[in-house]
């Protein structure tokens, strides 16, 4: 079969399964819309201000979360990767905090922020910070010492070494960190909206679900998934565009698996 044949077949099979299952009663039809109903609901949403408003709210929180996380985690990671002292000082604390699921902060954040977007920003930022921090740390620790020595021998100053050697060497690590952080942050922003009622895609899912409008609820859910895919693919495309020169051109972490 040709290149697009199998993926299309896979999508068709899943759509058909969710078209038939609620009709014949394999899934309870009262709470499972058929896939055609969901597609119609998605088409209905497409032109509405509701959709673009919710999308804007979610993406706004996401962008702030990413900015905050990057502003804190990247410098910290770079410092931990380039200085043994800093690493020894901070590593145990970071390792302790890393496994704490950021969602555990929700009850506390609700008390502080209520249903303000600041809640989802904080949630997303905490979750995005860890992949960024670790990628920055590994990236700067992996700079070729020979290249640094050569830069020193050629009389490059500290600043130019950082700009010309260290930064390009860790760029792919940072790019991977950004992509992972982007997906994780989006998931937590939407989860926060869904669980607490902050404006955005997640709240629309909740509202539609509580109103019993299941076709609309699943339309929002699928849209959320598509947005997640778009973020992931978008960062992947940026990497291919701006890091093509890098020797690694890393194995297919973005595209097919």
């Amino acid at each position: 079969m040709r290149a697009v044949g199998w993926p299309l077949l896979g999508i068709a099979v899943v759509l058909a399964a969710f078209e038939v299952a609620p009709r014949v009663g394999v899934l309870p039809g009262s709470s499972f819309p058929t896939s055609s109903e969901v597609l119609v609901a998605m088409a209905d949403l497409a032109g509405t201000a509701e959709l673009w408003g919710a999308l804007g709210d979610t993406l706004g929180s996401w962008a702030w979360a990413m900015l905050l996380a990057a502003a804190v985690a990247v410098p910290l990671g770079l410092a931990m990767g380039s200085s043994r002292v800093v690493e020894r000082l901070l590593r145990p604390t970071v390792e302790f905090l890393r496994p704490v699921p950021s969602i555990a902060l929700v009850p506390v954040l609700v008390l502080v922020y209520g249903t303000e977007p600041a809640l989802t920003v904080a949630l997303g930022a905490v979750a995005a910070a860890f992949p960024l921090l670790f990628q920055a740390m590994y990236g700067v620790a992996d700079v070729d010492p020979v290249a640094l020595d050569m830069g020193r021998a050629y009389g490059l100053g500290r600043f130019r070494r950082a700009w010309r050697i260290t930064l390009p060497s860790c760029a792919p690590y940072l790019a991977t960190g950004l992509r992972i952080a982007g997906s994780v942050a989006l998931i937590l922003v939407v989860t926060g909206e869904y669980a607490v009622g902050v404006a955005g895609l997640g709240r629309e899912v909740y509202v539609a679900q509580s109103a019993g409008a299941y076709d609309e609820a699943y339309a929002w859910v699928v849209l959320t998934g598509l947005l997640g895919m778009a973020v992931n693919l978008g960062f992947g495309a940026l990497e291919r565009r701006y890091l093509w020169w890098h020797a690694s051109r890393r194995p297919p972490v973005t595209g097919g698996w």
Partner: protein, 288 residues
């Protein structure tokens, strides 16, 4: 370096590592000591609640049920993810057919799917476990697919020319070779599973860490809610340490296993530039 000096420097390193946590806790204690804001209870009260409530009655009534759901959910996700990932990874057409759907479903935040789990599995433990599986299975599955695909084709050819039966090829060649990738996926799945355990309990139920913290928050018992967050942190740390210990034992033969916690800084190690020292779980991390 003499043995004594080595012990001394190890102790010194541990002391340096403790410096920041101790300073942070001291700062927290000091700034919150007279706080009467319900948002920011004194650390002393939090620790009292931790000792009296969480390490008292709630250990059996809330922490244990959470751990049970977490264990069942993660176990199921691991088995399903490795099994499906192996089949998909070894079958090129199936991989191509499932890829778009898998990419979409794993991009959906799992908590949004909780109502489906509720309808299908009821309001008891079933729906909570289902939600955990639904979220934690993706990183395991994707990493298994990648790991199985990454097996050196020459090794597979050799196994085939020696006429190893398919079962032996799978158990002795394919799965061990994919082991490090699978382990990396399992470790991400572990964090996702813990997160979803808490989320599922916050949404519904009658006990568990998530339920209790939410209840504390609603009755403005903030100190107890903070203490619950600390308990979740301890559980997360404990299961991660346990996992790393098991992984080290199982993967002892693999050279990557040695660099797990310390980044490998030796020049000339055989990693490719741009790759984290362990098969750093990349895209699949986006699973909850």
């Amino acid at each position: 370096m003499t043995a004594g000096a080595r012990v001394g420097s190890a102790l010194g390193r541990a002391a340096v590592g403790l410096l920041v946590p101790v300073a942070l806790v001291a700062l927290w204690w000091w700034t919150s000591r007279d706080s009467d804001s319900y948002l920011f209870p004194p650390l002393g009260e939090i620790l009292e609640s931790l000792r009296d409530d969480w390490f008292g009655d709630r250990l059996g009534s809330d922490v244990a049920p959470s751990l049970r759901r977490f264990g069942i959910g993660f176990g199921l996700a691991a088995v399903l993810g490795v099994a499906a990932g192996t089949v998909i990874g070894l079958t090129p057409w199936l991989r191509r057919a499932t890829q778009p759907v898998v990419e979409l479903v794993r991009s959906i935040p799992a908590p949004l799917l909780f109502p489906i789990a509720l309808v299908l599995f009821g309001i008891g433990d079933g729906s909570k476990v289902a939600l955990i599986v639904l979220g934690a299975v993706w990183p395991v599955l994707l990493n298994t697919v990648d790991g199985v695909r990454g097996v050196d084709p020459q090794v597979l050819d050799v196994a085939r020319s020696f006429r190893l039966p398919a079962r032996t090829r799978l158990g002795r060649v394919v799965l061990p070779a994919a082991g490090p990738m699978i382990a990396a996926g399992l470790r991400i799945g572990l964090s996702v599973a813990l997160l979803l355990t808490v989320v599922s309990e916050m949404r519904g139920g009658t006990n568990g860490l998530g339920f209790r913290i939410r209840a504390d928050q609603r009755s403005f018992d903030t100190a107890s809610a903070y203490a619950g967050v600390l308990v979740i942190g301890m559980v997360g740390l404990a299961v991660n340490l346990l996992f790393v210990a098991v992984e080290r034992r199982v993967m002892r033969w693999h050279r990557g296993a040695r660099g797990l916690l310390e980044p490998d800084r030796r020049p000339g190690s055989d990693r490719r530039p741009g790759q984290a020292p362990r098969p750093e779980p990349t895209a699949p991390e986006a699973a909850p």
